[in-house]
């Protein structure tokens, strides 16, 4: 790739940083150049996020339909499964499964609620809702 071909398609880096590419400059020497993003990459990153967002949306609907507790929504939103959540909270996997059922959080101890809230970096009040 030549230096003048370095893509500057804004997108997922959100202006927080830029990608570094190795490219040929006009004298045929290898140099580095920065890119704000590249469309093909934006497309496949968006594809990965669509999958995550769909799971979150599905979880939200389950909570609204009284098929699951808000814990499911927060777990999906944090890209976690039961195993990973158990690792972050030190709460037993079977216990988590109970807490995931509709109304399950009502039976959770204060300590468990705090562990979940810490893992998701939210308050206990936020944990109990899907807003």
């Amino acid at each position: 790739m030549k230096k003048e071909e370095v893509p500057q398609d804004d997108g997922l880096l959100q202006g927080k940083t830029r990608d570094l590419y190795y490219v040929l400059d006009e004298n045929g020497n290898y140099v580095s150049a920065l890119s704000t993003g590249w469309e093909p990459k934006n497309i496949v990153m968006q594809q990965a996020w669509d999958v995550i967002n769909e799971s979150v949306e599905e979880a939200k609907n389950k909570v609204l339909n009284k098929e699951a507790s808000p814990l499911l929504y927060h777990m999906e939103k944090n890209q976690m499964d039961i195993k990973l959540l158990a690792q972050y909270t030190n709460i037993n996997k079977n216990k988590i499964k109970d807490h995931l059922k509709f109304g399950g959080l009502d039976n959770a101890s204060e300590a468990d609620l705090q562990s979940y809230a810490d893992a998701f970096r939210i308050s206990i009040d936020q944990l109990k809702s899907i807003n």
Partner: protein, 340 residues
């Protein structure tokens, strides 16, 4: 507390970048492409028997940590590496290092890495950074993929050092304890090239090297036949994500390798390295063409001009070119090996 003057140099990839920045701090000035080439960082693997979030693993580099280990070994640098069970101990030991003025490499998870762009925050636990200063509750971080120095609070730093899930970092930290005054750069380079050429052309398994690219090209044609199109496209998207994710320098590290070969040309004063650098650049351009076609397919599904057959053919062509280039580069490396 000692104030360390640590030069933050942005790099494409975290592991090479941390290595280059740490070695440079200790007086061995070295570029990212050189670390990458000496550490035999270029690779290809497609392993359908290994899955991450339900998608087969495709890699353009060896396992995390290996490039760094190889580069340090070939250059004769001794490293101290520590991992921990107890987070408080891990933070206390890091503080002690910083108080002594030792910039320290750390492995972290990126999901909770507060300064990272949100769309890149997945549960990936093999990111590398250098911490070089602590002021009150704040750690000063040289993260090679970031343009500028960033900071993390004690709490946020402890969390990412003890991220959970696959390949937990367990507070891993590392730093050079002895760096030789003089290194035999040429010898280290040639050894690095030989290993890469072997990996790309001679591993007797179908999953690796140029053979692995052919293998992926063949497997790919089966995907839309044996699963829903949506899933097949996720498989394809994953290949492009691995190729172009933060840190490859574009085209699955092929441009970084081209930059390395260009540096070899100046070090060895051998025009042939320059020619190989240009060949590698062309191969990188072909990988980008593949990314464009594949992402079109992802975006427009079957309605687009690209189809599975043509995307697969692009890969077969790349595989042939890489096989040929690395075979000839192998010969050049062997020729130089005899002279050194």
């Amino acid at each position: 507390m000692t104030d360390i003057k640590f030069e933050h140099k942005q790099s494409a990839h975290c592991e090479n970048g941390v290595t280059a920045n740490l070695f440079t701090f200790h007086g061995l000035k070295i570029s990212e492409p050189l670390v990458f080439g000496i550490g035999s960082g270029l690779f290809f693997a497609h392993m359908p028997f290994m899955k991450l979030t339900g998608i087969p693993v495709t890699g353009f580099r060896p396992m995390p940590g290996i490039i760094f280990q190889r580069a340090a070994k070939k250059l004769g640098i001794k490293m101290k590496v520590k991992t921990y069970k107890n987070p408080k101990q891990a933070m206390a030991d890091l503080d002690a290092n910083l108080a002594k003025g030792i910039p320290t490499g750390c492995v972290v998870g990126v999901f909770h890495l507060t300064y990272f762009p949100e769309p890149y925050r997945f549960h990936f636990n093999a990111h590398n950074l250098v911490v070089f200063k602590k002021e009150n509750d704040l750690y000063y971080i040289s993260d090679p993929v970031m343009e500028n120095i960033t900071t993390l609070t004690y709490k946020d730093f402890e969390r990412v050092r003890f991220a959970k899930g696959t390949a937990e970092p367990k507070g891993k930290m590392y730093w050079p304890i002895s760096v030789p005054k003089e290194v035999n750069l040429k010898k280290a380079i040639i050894k690095g090239i030989r290993k890469t050429c072997y990996d790309m052309t001679e591993i007797p398994l179908p999953f690796f090297g140029a053979k692995g690219i052919h293998y992926l090209a063949k497997q790919m044609l089966k995907w839309p036949k044996k699963m829903e199109e949506r899933k097949a496209l996720q498989y394809l998207g994953q290949v492009v994500r691995m190729q172009e994710e933060i840190g490859t320098g574009g085209a699955g590290f092929r441009f970084m390798y081209a930059a390395f070969l260009f540096e070899c040309y100046t070090i060895f004063q051998d025009e042939r390295f320059k020619q190989f650098s240009m060949e590698m650049t062309q191969i990188g351009d072909l990988w980008r063409e593949f990314a464009i076609e594949a992402s079109r397919l992802v975006k427009n599904r079957s309605r687009s001009g690209s189809d599975w057959e043509s995307v697969s053919n692009l890969l077969h062509n790349i595989a042939d070119k890489e096989q040929d280039t690395f075979e000839r580069l192998y010969k050049l490396a062997k020729e130089w090996d005899k002279k050194l």
